[in-house]
């Protein structure tokens, strides 16, 4: 039976990773706000690509990597293999992500991209090996765990494909061998890593937080198959030049539909009617899946990607970040503290969250996704400014929420420790007097 902090990585690692991830979302908002014109034009500009990677590699990547230091032990009901590996992988990931972003900002600077992509690739490969080693100790049978395993593998693959893209820009022989598989990089990252990551972790966490027990999990299984098959078809289309792109896109649409259906099914079976605000945000995220699909059908690929990333991924990841961080910090401070838990004065998990910040995060991201998608469709810099401001607001609120969760927990623990010490001192004094 895993214990957070004891069977996972040292708690400071995932907590720091999640806090940095939250801060990265605020940075995304600030950067969009500083470059609105870029989003009103061609989305392949280095500045746009750089901002995109602050979101994908730094915000989502760090939250995902931090979560992988603890969640697998809980999902697979085993101990995390090589728990101290995080001391190497997480800093490497953070440094590599920053280098990639700088490389894009400098107009696809080859040395920065090579270093950044190399570092992040190395970090993600190490994380995948750690995850596989953890799973091998007690191989999970549920489809949610399989989706999580595959998502980490695809994230590593997406980063390696990014490395390949960076190499193709600087080395003609690489470009001659593999071409420039940017579409495959998108599909593996957006669907293989992010969609499967949300499917895998969400299936377990949503069921747990909504008290929704049992039920068939075939949707999760088939969604995982569909994403994997879609990526294989797209790889064949890219490297063997087979006409399989449409089939791949149909499978991805089916996977998205299955995930939305699974979420609805979990909610229908739930017994906890009042969902907490971060969980409501996770559920709301799925409304962006059909919106992204509609945008794609109308030929608005840029808008579809924004709705998927900022809307679906942004809302889902920020929702789970708050819940996972609450668990991590609470167990870090109170598990085995012999203070008597909640009846001894420890706060409830829901008391760690500042409810006032939640609507700002949720509706800030909803507005940001809608405004930025509209900005690309109508080439409006003004809408991009609105999107930047809304993302910045949501990111600052998320960072404040994450800091609040950690601060309240640590302060509560210190207060209890001080009270226990005072009680002990009084007792000793009374005994001495007697």
């Amino acid at each position: 039976m895993p214990r957070l902090g004891a069977d996972g990585a040292p708690p400071v690692l995932p907590i720091a990773s999640l806090l940095l991830g939250a801060l990265a979302l605020a940075l995304v908002g600030l950067l969009v706000l500083l470059s609105p014109a870029a989003f009103a034009g061609y989305l392949g500009l280095p500045r746009v690509v750089a901002i995109n990677h602050v979101f994908t590699l730094t915000f989502v990547g760090l939250v995902f990597a931090g979560t992988l230091q603890q969640l697998p032990a809980v999902m697979f009901v085993t101990k995390l293999a090589w728990p101290r590996l995080g001391w190497l992988t997480l800093p490497l990931l953070a440094v590599g992500s920053v280098a990639v972003v700088i490389g894009f900002f400098r107009g696809f600077s080859a040395p920065w991209l090579a270093f950044g992509a190399g570092a992040t690739s190395l970090a993600w490969v190490a994380l995948v090996v750690q995850l596989a080693r953890t799973a091998a100790q007690r191989w999970p049978k549920d489809p949610g765990s399989h989706a999580l395993l595959l998502s980490a593998l695809f994230l590593a693959l997406a980063v390696i494909l990014g490395f390949t893209l960076a190499s193709a820009r600087t080395t003609p022989s690489v470009a001659a061998q593999v071409g420039y598989p940017v579409q495959l990089h998108f599909t593996v990252g957006l669907f293989g890593a992010f969609l499967l990551g949300i499917i895998g972790s969400g299936q377990k966490l949503l069921s747990m937080f909504a008290l929704s027990k049992g039920g068939p999990q075939w949707r999760v299984r088939y969604a995982t198959y569909a994403v994997t098959a879609a990526i294989l078809l797209e790889a064949l289309a890219t490297f063997a030049r087979l006409p399989l792109i449409t089939a791949s896109h149909v499978l991805l649409a089916i996977a998205c539909a299955l995930q939305a259906w699974e979420v609805l099914n979990i909610l229908r079976r739930r017994l906890r009617k009042r969902l907490e605000l971060p969980i409501q945000r996770y559920v709301l995220a799925h409304a962006f899946l059909p919106l992204a699909g509609v945008a794609l059908l109308f030929g608005e690929g840029g808008a579809a990607m924004i709705l998927f990333l900022l809307g679906f991924v942004g809302l889902a990841v920020s929702g789970m970040l708050v819940k996972i961080l609450s668990f991590l910090t609470w167990t870090w401070q109170f598990a085995g503290a012999s203070t008597g838990g909640v009846s001894g004065g420890a706060p409830l998990l829901r008391d760690l969250v500042k409810d006032e910040l939640e609507p700002i995060i949720t509706w800030g991201l909803v507005l940001a996704a809608a405004a930025l998608a509209a900005a690309t469709i109508w080439s409006s810099a003004l809408l991009a400014v609105v999107a930047g401001a809304a993302t910045l607001l949501a990111g600052v609120a998320l960072t404040a929420q994450a800091s609040h969760v950690v601060g309240v927990t640590v302060r509560s623990r210190r207060r209890l420790a001080a009270a226990a010490a005072a009680a002990q001192a009084t007792k000793t004094l009374e005994e001495a007097r007697a």
Binding site: M1, P2, R3, L4, A6, Q70, A73, V74, M75, F76, V77, K204, M208, F209, L211, K213, G214, L271, R272, K273, R274, F327, W330, T331, F334, A335, G336, A337, S338, T339, G340, G341, V342, S343, G344, A346, P347, L348, L349, R350
Partner: protein, 110 residues
């Protein structure tokens, strides 16, 4: 709701008192005590030794360590309780139906 099985052999403290004390162990996520949540399957008291058979909402529950520590802490305060054994079991699995009506109501089931 789960009915807790109570067993006593020459008990230093009644098993019912031990079960009563476990009402002080609160699940930090749900904000309800483990008895009302139906997690305590059995309490056995032999002389001063107490054995608790209980479950959690999910096998990988990250709060496992803290809840078990709280059980030991709470029972340690009960006069007459000596050694404490806590065994986590997964069969039968916990379901929301295991909860008391009051617990269900406070979580908004109705």
């Amino acid at each position: 709701m789960t009915e807790t099985e109570l067993t006593e052999i020459n008990p230093a403290v009644p098993a019912r008192n031990v079960l009563e004390a476990l009402h002080a162990v609160i699940d930090p996520e749900l904000g309800l005590d483990i008895v009302s949540l139906g997690m305590v399957y059995a309490v056995a008291v032999v002389d001063s030794q107490v054995a608790i058979e209980m479950t959690l909402t999910t096998p990988g529950c990250p709060l496992h360590g803290s809840i078990e520590a709280d059980v030991r802490h709470c029972l340690g305060q009960v006069p007459g309780v000596g050694d404490i054994g806590v065994e986590l079991v997964w069969d039968p699995p916990w379901t929301p139906d295991s909860m008391s009506a009051e617990a269900k109501r406070s979580l908004g089931f109705y």
